[in-house]
Symmetry: D2
């Protein structure tokens, strides 16, 4: 076991962004396969970004937004900001739940929160925040507003 | 071009951690190859973590610390915290310089700063911060102090 | 669409290894997410190896072999040979079925066949073969025989 | 050490495609970093495909072909066939030389050979073959002939 057990920090557990009931989170299950691991036998720290992206895309699908279709229609949503904190390591063979939800939307910026928990013990392994921004693929500029259907679906979802 | 051109933020440009002269940064050059890109023709946002890790390991090597050897001797240095901000996209074929330096060391925690710049134009593309912590591989616990040779090399480097 | 539509080759369609009924294949579904793609908007050619590994591990689990546990007990099964042929590209947002089965076992060598099909159209996208060999983790040498429980489970499965 | 030491096979060592003098190979050096490794402390088997791609792109650059530019001009060169054989494992911290050369060109198909050797001992770790085919990005079809400048550069290189 090479990933340390960080002392629980007050800042984290008291962060209201992370204090929501289970109902508010979209859940995306994953299993740790060999290609996710590094020399320490645990998940390589960058691997989590692939799972967070997958959970985000599937969360959007669950509220009626097909990300691939959105891109084809000319609206991209690149990550512009990301922070991630590693609390506990996940080992090969483990299953984990990627929990995500939209924290807030400010114009075309969408802030997502993440909690990744080892599935059998419900241990918190990773917390993270990601900001997306809507970009017009034709000119590469930030959009003035989200496409209406996207705006509606996201608003409904973020206010659940 | 699908990654937006974010407005320059005061917070970022005034961050003293990032206002250092070129001499203070360890420089690690990379080129964007097909496997680094995503559907948008630009570097996928998680790819930067591979380059940041490579730059960190090579920076350690430049001051006499062989990371693979350190791990074999029982000291691991996992990432426990990471934040990254994407300012400009890097396209396939571009070359970039991964600049990194140690910001501070607090016990066995080592904070690194990053600036990633497109090479030919010197445009700032990514800024990031990463925290490592030294862990005893035998018991998985955070070490009380760094191995002396590591401590010495890092102290000398961080005070350059 | 940048991946070509290769002419159907006689060699491939007549390969008896790939001519089995649906019942013989273990099926593992995947969806193409942004991090799987490259600049061409299709799955990067190396990504398929992650899916093939996942399908293999889950296939083993389905017959009672927990790969992570096997490794912990000292038996590793590295890939020693792999060939892959790309017939059609998979685009972002597509779903695909990774079909795999054990072709034959020769001592501690296990040969797997793969067919990857786009899910909605059932179009064949990729065919592949992978050879694993059982290795004793303690000394790094090829094992003389498989652990009995593994041998039994694999024999039963490969003769279905 | 979990990757086995395969017995030298006659088939391999007598393959004339791999029996060339050092002058014929383009050499691309790499170092094994943490993100390249898996739970066994060695390079994950799929990682080699990233290095093979990088070596190919840099080899093309060395003979005057800028791959990113080629793609922008409408000519893509996807991998349509790949086989790879793993002889020896590479460990974290090791350096390796990716040797590649063009074996033959048949119309718009380009066959590449690879030898990957651990650098300090010159031990052969991986041999591989990759086939590319030139595709017109506008219509997704295989091109009838290579762009003349590409054809000239490749012919000159493959006949060295």
């Amino acid at each position: 076991m090479t990933q340390p057990q960080l002392p629980a920090t007050t800042a984290l557990t008291e962060d209201p962004a992370l204090q929501t009931t289970a109902e508010n989170w979209f859940e995306y299950p994953v299993r740790v396969h060999p290609h996710h691991t590094d020399y320490a036998g645990i998940v390589w720290h960058g691997t989590y970004l692939t799972w967070m992206e997958e959970a985000r895309v599937e969360c959007l699908r669950s509220i009626g937004i097909d990300y691939a279709e959105l891109v084809r229609l000319g609206c991209d949503m690149p990550v512009v900001d990301l922070s991630i904190r590693y609390h506990r390591a996940l080992r090969m063979g483990a299953t984990a739940m990627i929990n995500t939800r939209i924290l807030e939307m400010t114009g075309v910026r969408i802030n997502w929160a993440y909690q990744i928990k080892e599935h059998t013990t419900n241990t918190l392994c990773v917390t993270a925040f990601v900001t997306l921004v809507a970009v017009d693929r034709d000119n590469g500029k930030i959009m003035r507003r989200l496409p209406p259907t996207v705006q509606d679906a996201l608003t409904k979802f973020s206010q659940r």
